[in-house]
């Protein structure tokens, strides 16, 4: 068995210099047929959501009480809700909010995480102790209960209310998802910068007179990005689900701004009258997140086969 792995390892080593690192990553990625499918589905939903103003047949808030609870028809592609609003149009506009909230909070979390992790690993000492201790404490807290409490707290603030108006709940959601999401990338960046700073090429860069900042930004951080990309992709999917969950509990995105989560929350109230209202947003969430997860899985295999997240 050892000889087998050696033999196979030898062939890969022979291929490496010819292909280059990114070609190898692409080769491993493209082995996943499901990842292609995931990419196509994700692009489809993103285009559909962000193209809402052009693609949606009706405005998301157009009420027509004469047509409420319509079944799917030529006039209303997926039917209408309890107020006679076109479900399909609402799904597109809602998707724009749901995807944006998840995407922005994921990017912010990764950014904060990279800064915290890199700073702690690069400067060590007191910075390391304070930051990583904080990370550990944050990780050992029950997340969902605190998310709910924080959401409740922030949305009652008069100044924030005046600044953001209807979009207050969106701002609050992005803030709390970032506040409780940066620890995972921070941990990953911390451990990989910690090991990278001891390697020869860091020594070499230092010997050539590069400054600390330069080494940090042009060597250490870029070289620890692979696991961050993977965990951020999977985290993006989780945040779409989390948006829906918090909105369902009334502490995520609130009406009149539509999101997949609060559409489900309203549908829950009318579930006995028209169960279909609850089906569509759920399916949109399910397929979007499934696509993201397929993508994340393929990225993990391609970028870092040994990574377990």
């Amino acid at each position: 068995m050892t000889a087998d792995s050696r033999a196979v390892g030898a062939t890969e080593e022979l291929d490496l210099p010819e292909m280059g690192q990114w070609a190898l990553v692409w080769r491993r990625f493209s082995r996943h047929r499901l990842a292609y499918l995931g990419l196509i589905v994700l692009v489809f939903f993103v285009v559909l959501s962000f193209g809402a103003p052009w693609l949606a047949p009706y405005p998301y808030d157009k009420i027509n009480m004469n047509d409420n609870y319509s079944l799917p028809s030529a006039k209303y592609f997926l039917g209408t809700d309890e107020l006679g609003r076109d479900i399909f149009s609402r799904l597109l506009y809602a998707g724009r909010i749901s995807i944006s909230v998840a995407l922005v909070s994921t990017l912010l979390s990764s950014l904060v995480g990279i800064i915290v992790g890199a700073a702690a690993a690069y400067w060590r000492g007191v910075t390391d102790m304070i930051l990583m201790r904080l990370t550990d404490v944050m990780l050992s807290m029950p997340t969902l209960p605190l998310l709910l409490v924080f959401s409740k707290m922030l949305r009652e603030y008069p100044t924030l209310k005046d600044t953001f108006g209807d979009y207050l709940s969106v701002f609050v959601l992005v803030t709390i998802l970032t506040l409780f999401g940066w620890m995972y990338p921070a941990r990953l960046v911390y451990s990989s910068v910690l090991s990278l700073r001891e390697t020869e090429f860091t020594e070499a860069a230092r010997a050539l007179g590069s400054s600390g900042w330069r080494i940090l930004f042009s060597h250490l951080i870029p070289n620890s990005m692979a696991p961050v990309i993977v965990i951020s992709t999977l985290g993006f999917g989780q945040r779409v689900v989390l948006e829906a969950t918090l909105s369902f509990l009334g502490l995520g995105v609130n009406p009149p701004v539509p999101s997949w989560g609060n559409m489900l929350s309203q549908a829950y109230a009318y579930m006995l009258r028209n169960p279909w209202l609850a089906v569509y947003p759920g399916l949109f969430i399910f397929f979007t997140v499934l696509a993201i997860n397929f993508l994340g899985d393929a990225l993990r295999d391609a970028l870092d086969p040994r990574l377990k997240v």
Binding site: P145, V149, F150, E156, F248, L249, Y268, G282, V289
Partner: protein, 320 residues
């Protein structure tokens, strides 16, 4: 081991103190107070009267004094008084009334999940790339990609509303309290929801842990001894692969509380999770503070149990 435990318990106490202070401070910033309900039900009450009430109960004191007072009360077993959902009743009483229901729900869900996740995780590792393995992989992708509450709603729509096999929610039928079968019928759907998600993640974890073990040199040694394949898998493989699985389970148990908040809300199940949500929505901070402390305690205690359990099953780990 004794010194280690003492040190860990000390750390635990510090962490709990920290969390309690943090939550206390956060909650004090949120609008909402003990006499909101009074103001609401009696519009003619004057601001001066509210001020007098606040002074009488010490709510006008500086934050750190109030926190200190709360700590002293908690040490004496008084967790405060609900000022929202269960007006005027002691927090301990309100929480204890719900504790049982949540423990039953979480216990049943955990049991069902472990019984399903372990065998399918092991099987899919042994038969890697078989159809069973692909089934487990797909299941875990489905589980990860679906909001819990939506799955719950779908179950209600299909099995409660559509087919009428199970009740839509609650904990027992009026007049049938204490009937075991009725209780099980009420538990069936929420337990299914919680279990699907646990099985999805746990079976995947068991699988990867088992795969890791199957690659080890000592498995080859066991085969070279002439052991039958099933003995190799069960005696040498399972024992080793269960070490990380046990740790994972201990760490997941507090996560069940998050699941309980969602599931209990969807199924109107009167447990601690539902209580927490009601508490947050009604700004009933004494109740919320109590529940957060209980969950935080659970999380930290389970961490400790996980570490100790680790030392018990893995002879390589010794704490000094």
């Amino acid at each position: 081991m004794r010194n280690y435990l003492i040190r860990r318990l000390g750390e635990m106490a510090v962490l709990l103190l920290l969390i309690s202070a943090l939550v206390f401070v956060i909650l004090s910033f949120v609008p909402g107070g003990p006499f909101d309900l009074l103001i609401f039900s009696n519009p003619r009450i004057t601001a001066a009267e509210i001020k007098r009430l606040n002074e009488a109960f010490g709510f006008d004191k500086p934050l750190y004094i109030r926190y200190f007072q709360w700590l002293v009360d908690v040490a004496g077993g008084h967790w405060g008084t609900s000022w929202g959902i269960a007006y005027g009743r002691p927090v301990t009483e309100v929480i204890l009334a719900r504790l049982n229901n949540t423990l039953i729900l979480m216990g049943a869900a955990t049991l069902v999940s472990v019984i399903i996740a372990l065998p399918i995780g092991i099987y899919s590792a042994i038969r890697q790339y078989s159809w069973a393995d692909y089934f487990v992989t797909s299941l875990s992708f489905f589980g990860m990609s679906m909001p819990t509450f939506w799955f719950g709603i779908m179950l209600i729509v299909i099995f409660a509303v559509g087919l009428g096999w199970f009740p839509t929610g609650g904990v027992s039928t009026y007049g049938l309290e204490g009937d075991i079968l009725d209780r099980i019928r009420h538990l069936a759907l929420p337990v299914t929801v919680l279990s699907l998600f646990n099985v999805a993640t746990w079976s995947r974890f068991v699988r990867s842990s088992m795969l890791e073990v199957l690659r080890q040199d000592y498995m080859r040694t066991a085969r070279a001894k002439g052991l039958r394949e099933n003995v190799v898998i069960i005696k040498h493989g399972l024992r080793n692969s269960l070490i990380p699985v046990m740790t994972m389970l201990a760490l997941e148990i507090p996560g069940l509380f998050s699941g309980a908040i969602i599931t209990e809300t969807v199924f109107s199940y009167p447990g601690m999770g539902r209580l927490f949500w009601d508490g947050v929505m009604a700004a009933d901070w004494p109740v919320v503070q109590g529940l957060v402390m209980i969950t935080a305690f659970l999380v930290i205690a389970c961490n400790l149990v996980a570490d100790v359990a680790y030392a018990v099953v893995d002879p390589r780990i010794r704490y000094d």
